[in-house]
């Protein structure tokens, strides 16, 4: 199996990854605009306010869209197909990229409720945020 690409956190984004390690989801919030932000940034999008702070959220959301890749999306993912690549809209508003696990292909639909699955990647410091259908 080829080696999967893992994230290399930077100082700015480290709190997100640290939270996943602790089975928590934390994203940024800008009090001046009331805006939730993902992915982590130095300044809030559009307002460019520099008041972003980390807040814990549930991580629950809905499936905004998805695809089932029948061919590996890159050579590094050979053997992973079908890859169920998901865009999840968090209840707070922002969207993130993930994959769906613990689901039958026929049970997937845009708009379905989903919840986080924390996956510790073996032999690494990384925990990835995957999603499964919420009951």
């Amino acid at each position: 199996m080829p080696e999967r690409p893992l994230p290399t956190p930077i100082e700015r984004t480290q709190p997100f990854w640290d939270a996943l390690r602790e089975r928590k989801v934390k994203i940024q919030y800008s009090p001046s605009s009331g805006q939730w932000v993902f992915y982590p940034r130095s300044h809030a999008p559009l307002t460019l306010a520099d008041d972003l702070e980390w807040r814990e959220i549930s991580g629950a959301g809905t499936l905004y869209t998805y695809t089932i890749a029948r061919r590996p999306t890159a050579p590094d993912f050979a053997g992973d197909e079908p890859q169920i690549i998901a865009v999840v809209e968090l209840d707070e508003g922002p969207r993130l990229t993930s994959t769906l696990v613990n689901v039958d292909e026929s049970a997937i639909s845009v708009g379905m409720r989903v919840r986080p699955v924390f996956e510790d990647v073996p032999d690494s410091e990384t925990t990835l945020l995957r999603y499964e259908p919420a009951p």
């Binding site: 999967r4 690409p5 893992l6 994230p7 290399t8 956190p9 930077i10 984004t13 992915y39 905004y64 869209t65 998805y66 695809t67 089932i68 890749a69 029948r70 061919r71 590996p72 999306t73 890159a74 050579p75 590094d76 993912f77 992973d80 890859q83 690549i85 865009v87 969207r95 993130l96 990229t97 993930s98 994959t99 639909s109 845009v110 708009g111 990384t126 990835l128 995957r130």
Partner: protein, 399 residues
Amino acid sequence: MGLRGEAAIVGISEWKPERRPTAPPIFTLEQWARLAREALDDAGIDPSEVDGICCTNIRESDSFVPSTITEYLGMQVNFAEVVDLGGASCAAMVWRAAAAIELGVANVVLIAAPSWPSPRPPAPPSGPSSWRYGASSANYGSPQAEFDIPYGNVAQNCGYAQIAMKYGAEYGYDPEALARIAVDQRVSANHNPAAVFHHVPITVDDVLNSPMISDPIHMLEIVMPCVGGAAIVVAGKDVARRSKHRPAWISGFGERVLHKTPTYAEDLLTTALIPAADAAFEMAGRTREEVDLISVYDCYTITVLMTIEDAGFCPRGEGQPFVREHDLSFRGDFPCNPHGGQLGFGQAGLAGGMSHITEGARQLMRRAEDHQVPDADIAFITGNGGLMSEQVALILEGD
């Protein structure tokens, strides 16, 4: 405000796309020289008249690209532009050239998209290729490297599939209608000897029975990567009037750039083309009904469907019945990509995006021979970069 329509495409060079190159690699700078010479010869303009260039990246230099090219070509220019908008780059270069000409900055601007392989260095650089994840950036600090690539959300197929899936959830999905786009364009390709699929007709069943690559997109709904290259010459009124062909005047444009990764789109179904197309039509003072043909970016069938809607040729969400009711081939009632589109003609790198411009100009010049749209006077063109998120619309007009 905007263009007055006083700059025109006057010369074209376009290499036949090939799936596997039948000739040796050529350095990008040499491709530039060859394409420039051919396009200028086509226009009947002497190279000494060139005073502007628009380019994309070249293999031989990561920075100082325009001066590397002008030095190689022995040219001195008043206008030098690098454009990095993926598949929208060539269309974006066209309006920049026209704007520079109308401002009086330049008079003859060369635009090239060399897309032939270049020779590999004797000792190849170590480390993974920068295109390992397609257009997705794996560079340190890149948001895609950290938040998208680890989940396999990489580059084009799966991004367009996410868009198509969302489209289906919103408006319903009619796979046969999408397949018809590929089929109608293939009819045109079958009449274009330069098309990579010139000799290969297809049916709706062929499309629907081709392998599912990324739900709901089938293999025959995806462009065929090719090698090739293309260049055009854009010139001001006086030069255009004495060039060899009927000039294709650039009368309107619009440009809109949003996000890179579809995950972070404000609304995945509201593409950047809506404001870009409106701006182009308004600037040109033209209506959708006046358009004789469209030559629009078609990396996937869903791209064409959403382009027809978002450019305003039919209401949003009604593209599927529209393509069922119209014949999109060059001889049909709604000619769309009469060269076959990149789906039928082949996608030779950034020259694939250029093919929509060369085809628009060729049709207005009445040089399209077996795939000529009768009485072609007004063409609507798009360039699309990234995931429907970098859009340029152009309107070209004959006299």
